[in-house]
Symmetry: C3
Subunit: 337 residues, 3 copies
């Protein structure tokens, strides 16, 4: 099936996700260095990146094509994003021109957007990304927006398959972790949905004030109903971790004080013990794995000994970003597309 958009795992049926992962594994084992010969991926980064930036470039090279990268700091004094504005300030170009132009040079486009972190409903609706999306006529990949991160989810699913983490009956704990800043909801939202869609029993554990939004929880519950999994949320870490196959740590903003950085900072200042450490694994399954999307602040969100220990599969996840994305790119621009 030619793929026109990769925005949210929820847009796909479970067998479609499984097919993408099978394709990723096939391309990993049997390189096809001519599959995308002469094809161009345009990459627009409105936020900084390391994994996404390098894994997409590498993915295109492995398939025989190539990519180019645009970020606002490369452009003529930045890119304006606001609508209906008189551009008499610093920015010399508007996204309304930049996006159609960039996408005219590519056979597909990837956009890394950002979360405004002002109003929760705007970020839940992915307002900024939604506007950009209307400007694109080519196949489009969401490389992380305010509320989506489908490439991370695909990589994480593939990683758990390779580690033989059970789907049905697999216990997945998504834990809030400490961080000095109020980070976006994209990864926790996408991860929760992915694990639920994979049929796992998912527990979200977070301090009070950091509940995931109702819309996100409801969407994941619906996915769990179809997959045979389950979704619940708690503040009780001890109970949450019991019997876990996976601890997936992620830092995120207070939803109670969304957009209010002072109140968020005040709420989180007492929460520094939400740092994943060896004792967290006392009551998990003995073979419990530690997952994180990276980047991670060592000694802040997670201790060195967890990251450097045998439970950590963070680099495995990161590598799977590339293989998973190759499958997406192949479906968008490859022989079958």
């Amino acid at each position: 099936m030619p793929l026109k958009e990769f925005n949210d795992l929820a847009d796909f049926q479970i067998p479609e996700v499984e097919a993408l992962i099978r394709l990723a594994t096939r391309l990993q084992q049997h390189p096809e260095p001519q599959a995308l010969a002469g094809k161009v991926l345009a990459l627009l980064f409105l936020s900084p990146s390391l994994r996404t930036l390098s894994s997409f470039q590498a993915a295109m090279i492995r398939l025989g094509g190539g990519s180019f990268v645009i970020s606002p700091d490369m452009s003529i004094h930045g890119l304006e994003t606001r609508s209906g504005i008189v551009m008499d300030g610093v920015a010399a170009e508007h996204l309304r021109e930049a996006i159609p132009v960039i996408s005219s040079y590519g056979d597909a486009l990837g956009i890394r957007a950002f979360a405004n972190r002002a109003k929760l409903e705007d970020d839940l609706a992915d307002r900024e990304y939604a506007v950009m999306r209307t400007l694109v006529k080519k196949p489009l990949i969401n490389m992380e927006s305010a509320i989506q991160h489908p490439c991370q989810s695909l990589a994480d699913w593939k990683t758990m398959d390779e580690l033989k983490v059970p789907r049905k009956g697999g216990k997945f704990v998504l834990s809030w972790a400490w961080h000095p800043k109020a980070l976006p909801l994209a990864v926790p939202s996408a991860t929760l949905h992915m694990a639920a869609m994979r049929g796992m029993d998912v527990t979200v554990v977070r301090p009070e004030g950091f509940e995931l939004p109702q819309a996100i929880m409801d969407k994941a519950r619906k996915a769990a109903t179809q997959s045979g999994g389950s979704v619940r949320e708690t503040a009780d870490r001890r109970e949450a971790l019991e019997g876990a196959h996976i601890i997936y740590a992620k830092e995120w903003s207070s939803t109670r004080h969304y957009g209010d950085r002072v109140a968020d900072a005040k709420l989180r200042e007492e929460l520094q013990d939400w740092r994943v450490d060896d004792p967290w694994f006392t009551t998990t399954r003995p073979d419990c794995r530690f997952m994180h999307c990276l980047p991670v602040r060592r000694g802040v969100a997670v201790t060195d000994r967890v990251l450097d220990g045998p439970r950590s599969v963070v680099v495995h996840e990161a590598e799977n970003r590339m293989w998973g994305q190759m499958a997406v790119l192949y479906q968008m621009m490859g022989p079958g597309a």
Copy 2:
């Protein structure tokens, strides 16, 4: 014909430009993803860029080769451009080394230079670019200098062909547009020449004090004589726009006060009504198109409703940058070169 330099449409005969456009269209319709296999385009940007940066990278990928980008901020504390200087300041490398080195890594080189905007005669003589040109032994592409922008002109010519804008009898209005800064003369000069060479009846309309230099006008008149077109200049917008097939807007410096930013700023501060808007099209032909090389400041040089309306072909022009440049690269490094 192998192509050694792409600097100025005036260096070519009309049939040679037509052949480049035919080649561009052929490569657009019939991809040749192996044509430049193993070939390298070196790209040196001394000024920031979005379209040029991405369209050249995409062009090389589509032809099976690749490119690399160097800009002063990537290098060791910047690139020195002045001659005969004792380099005891910040810059650790001189263009006299950087350019030969970079071009030794490529099969062709593209340079984006800049306008000094100090003395008009220096910029008309393209003094900075001329020095750099002497340092290059490979095929060389002018990616915009103080006074040239041949890639933009090639793209614009191709765009008008595709839109079936008439050559003989086609009325092309190059209009000055408002901008807070004193921008270079490269695009208006190159555009005027291109439209004259294409055989059109060209009117340059601009406020007093923003006349295009005599040398530029004379060169365009000579081209018009050969092509059967015509060239004139006026300050009367109403009269200029009557019956136009094309309004091509561009912001540029005062030539009366060239290099004097204070006097230029004073002269332009009353000229904010030189903002292209729907009423400009009242007396044009009904199917009159709006062109601009981008980037454009919305609400400043042009209104949103013109840019978002059906007359605007600015993204079409920008896309043709890539196809036109592919033809140039193909002639420089491809099978026939």
Copy 3:
């Protein structure tokens, strides 16, 4: 022989270096634009670069593969390098994650590290690079570290071969040159070793206080013993230059005051006559060549007339960076690897 690491010419036998240079020349004369189809080189730059950045990218394109570049300023607020630290500052990612992740996307990895220039023994032991090296499981290229620069040495060896500079009996003068800053020891150390290994009679000439470290001299002497060359050091420039085939200039730190920038600056402030100029060649062989790894500060380390004159082969050396690196990449990832 598949190549797993390219770190130090001293790790190779003389015939192995000769074979790499033959391969480089072969690839220069007979392009193999499919040799590395679908292969990826990951490039990590912890210091700025021009030649290394562009020559590695060009090298991969010429062999049909590609590369991607990561530098700390592209990443999320920089990369942390210190061990065991609580990352509550600006840097959001640690090299301990970044390096394994980046190398998971490549078939080989190049790292440009830096010299701490605090303790001489740390830099001689290449402490920073050694830590990074432990994090990489892929073939690894040292793109310059505190004390190594093997790609420069390979290029310089090839350049002298092409210029028919004699090995046995060839007189190679490595001269300290003036510079306002205390630069690293990587190039002088690597260059000394290369010339000794090539069988030349090497004289290091430098002001008092800028002696090369004993360990570096001893290592080069050992190489000279095997190759039939010789190594000596002097402060007497007049005597050193007599009969030279090559003057290779390089700026470096005071070793007497290593890590003490104030004392280094004081020592060097009287040494501005260590600027290579035409009179330096009065007693050399008439066909004596001038070499420098670049970047070079004109009028500071070398005069314009030497750099622009017929003795200078600095661009030839720089071009050979690309051809030499292609041989290394071919041995790491190509058909035979």
